[in-house]
Symmetry: C2
């Protein structure tokens, strides 16, 4: 570990993506490593989280819950960092912290956005199942979806960072878990390793019919992070009184068109007679009240072997753009993390 | 009042309407007045309620919360009836009851769907503000919308059977009430008589901009009964944490097309970052738990002059089809009721 590094590599947003991002929308840049002022720490990024929400921050107009990334600025992102220099009384040099350093090797922080991680055997999990994506699953499923024993929970992207936790939490609460994923390997993993009751392969042209067959008692909770044709297939299967926690709609993030048909009337014509509750939520709202319970519960379940967390680790900061583009196409298998530096 | 009437006029569903119903979709028919069997009563219809939901029951496939009307059967509808012959121990001849006789002069009932009305000065109100539409407003606004003092409540069809009560209840709860209605007369009435803080005229091409100006602090509760361009105008004005009780979407009831643009992605992209709760409900679910409180509260408010109920009364059963078609076009002004027979 060097405290006098040569350069800070940064991946900047070079252009607002039109639809699916292309590599040219990003630019690698090098800068001198910054020097912390009084009250600051210098962070070295060990792991960088790649998450679908970042796509929304790349548009010229932001999504509303976080500001858009300015052109020429580093792409934002949650990170696991080592404090490599400190002029801050609360953070010692060498401490491991959860931060928001973004797509770069080094960053400064005044400490206000840092969470000490202590010593973790696998600190990258703080970006996945034990961090924001796992917490999204926990709050969305348990607090908003509220599955009851014997009910059926459906989640898209069943092996992704959020979906895998949703399915496993549903099972832990006594509900049936039905997933949707891309390809037979992910589906097999969802059933055999994660314990889903069924998982439908979206590459199978009959997947929507298979979903109906896999939900003979209908759907009570649909954890919505996909939108598009998954939502289309779910709507006719919803039971009266169903709940839809809405944390994302990745199928629409790259859309540049709003070509018809208009799917809104069908949505309303489903939600009304079926008394469905569709509830948008942003996980950042819930940290103060629920994060402690989440970390305690999740740690217990992971240590007891009741919950499996899979990572899809790519290596090197320069791999981030391609990996992120793949994430938006469902090419990752598990929580996507970039290993930026050795610990 | 005759107890040996000659004929029972019935208005039957002659065809499933294609889009907006036409007079030819209905057929007037006469039958002998039926004779009650043991355990039945014969009902004379005094007042017939016309409500938008009936349009949904005229399609070949029903909306899910109630069965579709078979071709050749009388159109369904809530009614105020006089019991003109009784072979039922609980109902005396001459009693005034709330029933579901539908679009006809007479009907039989086994009493299970009848509610005694006692003596009411204005029994038709049991079809409007003191009945199902008023109860829809009460449950939807108070239990689902939950307006807090100082918040802004928006409702379409502000002078209609439901909307007028929504606006007045919002004011009674200390919220601002902003309505949307068709034409300057209705808008003036909404503000001057019902006490709305503002009412926008949808015939004004600038109404959506005016809505934004009338909601300087955004919208906290949107009582959804319209859909279409009203929903479009409301979405960008919703505040974080807004609630949308969904009781109807009259703008889409007559749609035969789902031409684009696709408005679903924009809906999701609004509900998520704004943490909006969109909740479908069907008023029939809530009678057991809430109707008694509703009748007590509403009667108190009406008697105290805190709440005004306006009826749009048309005369004669044969006027029902045209009046109903006008209802779907927003031509009524107040709760639409057909006076079928003198009391």
């Amino acid at each position: 570990m060097s405290i006098t590094p040569a350069v800070n590599r940064r991946i900047l947003l070079a252009a607002h993506p039109q639809g699916l991002p292309r590599p040219a929308d990003f630019r690698l840049d090098t800068q001198p490593v910054p020097t912390p002022a009084e009250g600051q720490v210098l962070l070295r990024t060990l792991y960088l989280s790649l998450d679908p929400y970042m796509r929304n921050l790349m548009d010229e107009i932001g999504p509303g819950y976080a500001p858009p990334i300015p052109l020429g600025a580093p792409v934002v992102g949650g990170t696991v960092n080592r404090v490599v220099a400190s002029r801050h009384s609360r953070f010692q040099e060498g401490a491991l912290v959860l931060g928001n350093a973004g797509w770069q090797d080094y960053a400064l922080s005044d400490g206000s956005d840092l969470t000490p991680l202590g010593e973790m055997a696998q600190p990258s999990l703080a970006l996945g199942g034990l961090g924001m994506p796992g917490f999204t699953a926990y709050v969305g499923l348990l607090d908003i979806g509220q599955p009851r024993p014997g009910e059926t929970v459906v989640v898209g992207a069943a092996t992704g960072a959020v979906g895998a936790v949703v399915g496993q939490l549903a099972r832990l609460k006594g509900a049936r878990a039905v997933g949707i994923a891309s390809g037979p390997d992910k589906c097999r993993y969802a059933v055999e390793t994660l314990g889903f009751d069924a998982c439908l392969d979206r590459h199978n042209p009959h997947w929507a019919e298979d979903l109906a067959a896999a939900c003979p008692d209908g759907i009570d909770v649909y954890f919505e992070s996909v939108g598009g044709e998954v939502l289309d297939a779910v709507l006719p299967l919803l039971n009266s009184g169903a709940r839809i926690p809405l944390c994302g709609f990745i199928a629409h993030y790259n859309e540049r068109t709003t070509a018809g048909p208009d799917r809104l009337p069908r949505l309303l014509a489903t939600l009304l007679p079926k008394r469905v509750r569709l509830q948008g939520f942003v996980v950042f709202d819930h940290y103060a009240e629920r994060f402690e319970a989440f970390r305690r519960d999740m740690t217990t379940w992971v240590q007891a072997g009741d919950l499996t967390l899979r990572e899809d680790m790519v290596h090197g900061l320069e791999a981030a753009p391609e990996a992120f583009i793949g994430l938006l196409q469902g090419r990752n298998f598990g929580k996507l993390v970039v290993r930026v530096a050795g610990d």
